[in-house]
Amino acid sequence: MSNLNRKYKKESCRTLLGFLRCLVGQRTQIDLYGGIMLVGTLVDIDVNRNIQLTQVTMSRPIHKPVSFNRLYVRYTNVRYVRIPDDIDVVETIRQDLKQMNPKPNEIVGGGQKKMHVRKGREYERNLPPLRPENY
């Protein structure tokens, strides 16, 4: 699944996908095309922006509202995702990007050495000895 992870990272830096995922756990209203409104708690937004909600009320024009325990919405139908008032948008984006791309000294557990450094060590190890063994 590393392809999806790369795609996600790219998308989250380029678009508001990363920000949207920070809203998981919030109660939001989602407006769909066709006048449909959903109010529910965000469970997941995948890399294609399909949305999963829980405890949802769906209101359609003319029809009576329907309550869902779980609901999965195809991304093409989403017109608006309403952001709760108590969310600081810019700060959330900043935090999310920071988390996506931490500085090397901020990685918990040490992280991976950078590619070129790793290669350098291996390269050095495999070099022929400066002096022959029996010098």
Binding site: R14, V66, L71, R74, K103
Partner: protein, 228 residues
């Protein structure tokens, strides 16, 4: 009464789940008991019958607006799966059609501000067990993820921004060797030279990465400044 069911063929390939004895409803009409087949290509319910031709419903995932689990509904005592499907406009009477569009999708982009000629219908499927219901919900969700709409005018992934190498999954560190300073923590300045910034600013105007014709155009905002 218009025919609610069509002749459908049950998919035989890439079938993820199949459930016998599933009751189906279209809005308030009871359609009968039959087999629900969740395939990667379509969601198909067929009424149980001995005929060689099966009557039922076939739903393509791109028109599957949403699906979910309903536990409490005044009209339906059992918990069930609700599938909301987009209905194309040429099935309807002509009472509301200001836009003679064939496809609900194209109506969205061309219709006036508030009027959406997109209709949806509710199908309800009552499964045999609660576990079946949960698995069916999950399976349909997985199959939905297999059907993203094809990108039309947007540039595909690998063009803009592909010079940012996010590395392996576990490699969280920044590619920039000097451990960035604070006003460029994400390494944008290292990866985005002048021409790339131009491209970023005008990406939706159809400019491509190789297009240097607009390098003299200084009207584009520097996108990296917005991040700070």
């Amino acid at each position: 009464m218009p025919a609610l069911l069509n002749t459908v063929t049950v998919p035989t390939e890439y079938v993820r789940q199949q459930y016998p004895s599933v009751k189906a409803y279209l809005e308030d009409d009871y359609l009968g008991q039959g087999v629900l087949c969740i395939a990667e290509s379509q969601l198909v319910w067929t009424a149980a019958s001995n005929d060689s031709e099966r009557q039922g419903i076939a739903i393509d995932y791109p028109s599957l607006t949403m699906h979910g689990i309903v536990t409490h509904d005044p009209k339906y005592p059992e918990e069930h799966l609700v599938v909301v499907v987009q209905k194309s406009n040429d099935d309807d009477d002509d009472d509301e059609t200001e836009n003679p569009q064939e496809n609900g999708d194209s109506a969205r982009s061309e219709s006036p501000v508030e009027f959406d000629s997109i209709r949806t219908v509710n199908y309800r499927f009552v499964m045999a067990t609660s576990e079946d219901l949960k698995v069916a919900y999950q399976t349909i969700a997985e199959c939905q993820a297999l059907h993203p709409d094809p990108l039309e005018d947007m540039v595909e992934d690998d063009e803009v921004g592909s010079d940012i190498d996010y590395g392996e999954e576990e490699d969280e560190s920044n590619e920039n060797g000097n451990g960035n300073n604070d006003d460029d923590p994400y390494g944008y300045n290292a990866h985005f030279s002048g021409s790339h910034q131009q491209t970023r600013g005008t990406r939706f105007g159809g400019h491509r990465r190789g297009d240097h014709a607009d390098q003299d155009d200084h009207n584009n905002n520097n996108p990296t400044e917005e991040m700070e």
